[in-house]
Symmetry: C2
Subunit: 111 residues, 2 copies
DNA sequence: TTGACATGCAACCATATGGTTGCCTATTAT
DNA sequence: ATAATAGGCAACCATATGGTTGCATGTCAA
């Protein structure tokens, strides 16, 4: 079996929707919930939730497991962590220098 | 003047597009580029790039500055940093416990 | 001053996206 | 056995999104 690696783009797009982020939050609060449990209290049909979970699963943010007629959903934080590592970290470096650099460049342009 | 704060959703959505992330990468490599400069070598019209930059600006990921007929674009890494802090960090906590917790919950269900 | 350059604005278009409804299948409990 | 429960599948729909073309405006240089 060859592992399937979702692209970073897939992960970003999966995280772009507020409903999906809310589902991840729910799983973060309590892992291993069934589809019906995840639907509870949401202003959305079960089928809509199914689609969202499908997208999260495709992005490897959620792993599922059938247990009888139930489908259990587990959060996989690894892709989120990778985005933090590979993408967000590098933009943090110039956080402190950003403003001063802006000023510097402005002055340069006005020479 | 009252500061406008973009929602976290706006930032996530802005980051969801690969072209926009590429623009941020370009600004990260060299800050303060003009619109034309940012268009160079991209398989997209200037107007498409303008729209992307508008979305990035609305999400406060890019700040602009008119200098004569040119518009200079500066990266603002703060919202990216905030996403890292407020959203990504909390999912990293249970990284190590995720697998063991899965096993534990499975066993519990089989009792 | 006038042409070239940098950008802005608006209409338009195809496809992606988030959601719905309707129906079907599999499993569990009475 | 059979009804209720949990979930799957597919068609459909409205709107959002990412892109285009065409034209207008402001600024700089010869």
């Amino acid at each position: 079996m060859v592992a399937y690696y979702p692209t970073m783009d897939e992960v970003f797009r999966a995280l772009a929707d507020a409903s999906r982020r809310a589902l991840l939050d729910r799983l973060h609060a309590r892992n291993g919930q069934t589809l019906s449990e995840l639907c509870d209290g949401l202003a959305m049909t079960r089928q809509a939730v199914t689609k969202h979970l499908g997208i999260l699963e495709a992005a490897n943010l959620v792993t599922t497991l059938r247990h009888g007629r139930e489908k259990l959903h587990y959060l996989n934080p690894v892709p989120i962590h990778q985005i933090g590592e590979r993408w967000i970290r590098k933009f943090e470096r110039n956080k402190l220098t950003a403003l001063s650099e802006l000023k510097r460049q402005l002055e340069k342009r006005d020479e």
